[in-house]
């Protein structure tokens, strides 16, 4: 139970600044996910909160108290590392018990707490093993056990699942979610896996090059990204970004991409023939049954470039009016290259960006 606040936090390594004035307020019990491309400063932010990295300027507060000068061990935070950082010479039991031992708790108390944590994480049969004798998923759980056993005010996770295979990752993601619902502890979670971000987060913080791009709920980021970067970063496959121009005629606005012209439902502010970037999420493109709900003028003829069926969905790369896009279609759409196909766009969900600043325009 803790609030965490970052005020204009800057981090410099030598003369290079890698985190540029981050402001962030994290509520009690909130699950915050930090995402961003590699090298954007996610781990650095996390390590500054943990106290493992000093901050060059600004302030970090936990529960309203500045912790700039507080040692890591006195911040009451627990961290799970990407490579788990288990103590290789200690058994699972000793690994989990270490922090309690350092806190000089009594032997019987330690035993109770470790057993409780082991129960939650289903580690009881492995307590006497060394980390080297465990599978990746079990090691991951030991790392979690080490974090939860001391009931810290804040959990910090640095890409805890990235060393696991896809299936195990999905399973552990669920476990993490359940754990958070059970323990209700403020959590800051770093990942570059956007599925983890979308499924786990109460709010997502998107970082790029040490700058916060946007903070918001997963749906907010998905539906109203503030700039081109966020629109491309969130969602898979990424948003199609297409240079276009807006045209106003008789009080109606249309957008022209190459030779393709489509009506705009909620036009952004701006002059006639303004140049914009249009963001088209792959999932707003429909075909087959999906076309029924769309007006005729929202539909176009497109030439198939290549299609891939992924179980219940299909990815289709197509060209319409001279521009190439990717669509994520419901159902199994099997189309041969060169074939013509009717596609509809849910134009109420178009995104517009300023081509110069790449900021969203609404």
């Amino acid at each position: 139970m803790a609030q965490v606040e970052l005020k204009k936090v800057i981090k410099r390594f030598g003369s290079t600044e890698v985190v540029h004035g981050v402001d962030l307020f994290i509520e009690d019990d909130e699950f915050i996910v930090l995402v961003g491309p590699s090298g954007c400063g996610k781990s650095t932010v996390l390590r500054m909160i943990a106290g493992l990295e000093s901050i060059s300027s600004g302030e970090i507060c936990i529960n309203g108290q500045s912790v700039n000068e507080v040692a890591p061990k006195d911040r009451n935070v627990a961290m799970v590392f990407q490579n788990y950082a288990l103590y290789p010479h200690m058994s699972v039991y000793e690994n989990i018990a270490f922090s309690l031992k350092m806190a000089k708790e009594s032997k019987s108390q330690i035993k109770d707490k470790v057993q409780q944590a082991a129960e939650i994480l289903e580690l009881t049969p492995y307590l006497q093993r060394k980390p080297a004798e465990l599978s990746g998923g079990q090691r991951q759980r030991v790392a979690m056990g080490r974090a939860i056993v001391r009931q810290p005010a804040v959990f910090l996770f640095d890409e805890p699942l990235s060393n696991l295979d896809a299936q195990l990752r999905t399973q552990m993601r669920m476990e993490l979610k359940k754990l958070h619902l059970k323990m209700k502890t403020t959590t800051i979670y770093v990942t570059h896996d956007q599925i983890e971000a979308m499924t786990l987060a109460d709010r997502i913080v998107i970082l790029k090059d040490g700058y916060i791009q946007q903070i918001g709920s997963p749906i907010e980021l998905f539906e109203r990204p503030v700039n081109r970067f966020v629109a491309r970063f969130i969602g898979n496959p990424p948003t199609n970004i297409i240079p276009a121009s807006l045209h106003k005629h008789d009080g109606r606005t249309s957008v022209r991409m190459g030779t393709l012209s489509l009506p705009v439902v909620s036009p952004p502010a701006g002059a006639d023939s303004q140049q914009v970037l249009v963001g088209i999420r792959p999932d707003i493109i429909k075909t087959g049954d999906g076309l029924h709900s769309l007006p005729d003028e929202w539909q176009v003829q497109a030439e198939v470039i290549v299609s891939e069926v992924l179980g219940g969905q299909s990815l289709l790369e197509f060209s319409a009016g001279g521009t190439t896009m990717i669509a994520e279609l419901e159902g199994r759409v099997q189309a041969r290259p060169g074939e013509m196909i009717t596609l509809g766009f849910d134009l109420s969900r178009l995104l517009f960006f300023d081509p110069r600043t790449e900021e969203a325009i609404y």
């Binding site: 943990a50 061990k73 935070v77 490579n83 103590y87 010479h89 350092m102 001391r150």
Partner: protein
Amino acid sequence: MRNQDRIKAVLTLSPSIILIGLFVYGFIGNTFWISLTDWGGVAALAVNPVKNYAGFTNYIDLFTGFLGGGFRQDLVNAVYYSVMLLAGAIGVGMFLAVMLDSKPKGEAFFRTVFLYPMSLSFIVSGTIWRWMLSPQGGVNILPEYAGLQPFTFRWLSSTGSILEFNWQNLLEIAIYLVSAVLLIIGLRLFAKTPRQSLLWLIPGIALGLFAWLGGEMLPKALFMEETHGFNKATFGIILATIWQYSGYTMALYLAGFTGISQDLRDAAMLDGATTASYYRHIALPMVKPITISAVIILSHISLKMFDLIFAMTGPDNGQTGHPALNMYLTTFRANDFARGAAIAIILFLIAGTFIIPYLVSSYRQRRGKP
């Protein structure tokens, strides 16, 4: 093809196998044979010296004979020397490594400085230290620079000794030692498997009681009292060896510490460990193989020590003697080849007790890995 490979392998290896077999193991065997003879005395250097089989007389003489007192003191010296060198060089080396592990400014410079004494020959460092430890110079006059009285400790020529014991009671002392080892093992096992620990504790207690109550009745190793102890004059030599080797153990430990991932240190810090408890609970247990290697290397060095003592106090100094020096003097100055060989075999066996467990465990570890 496989057969051909095998033949090639045998051909390539056989010269070294033959040479090592002959010049190492053959000569160890030959030395052992000589130690069982009476080769020595007036005609020892004759063209065909007389060598009669004499059984273990040489060994018995060395340990219990009237004239073996010098050797016995040398042996005691070697034991104290090994223990002090191990404690000193490992302690100082570990301390330096911990200091440098926190990456202070000029870390690379200090690393070189601390490692440098290693590169000196023992004759050179012995000469330097002989001068440094001279009664009215070097270390002893350091306090004068601060306006204090100079030290008067005679580093290399004191005659007193401490921690003395009577060689007569050798058997009793040995039983006490065995009992102590059994008790320690038993107590360490007690927390985990109380049942099994009794297997160690009961014999330990029994032996201890036996030595305590029946010690008087045990046969004496000698017919008269003979006390040996830690001669204070060896202190200077120990100091010089520690100076020369702590840089080496520092380098070993530093390599080990640097190999520990930063994440482990971070995790320990978050788990509430102080720097001291990080080293105590995480870093030192993780570099245990390094401690074992250091113990083996240093105990060998102390068992083989010859040149440093020769340079610092000369070969004939009874106070600072060492079995290796004794062996040399017995063999080549007294021409008592058989007894010299017996000393060599004793040193060889002591060295073996250090290295064989190590070889066995490292062999097992290698076999254990796929």
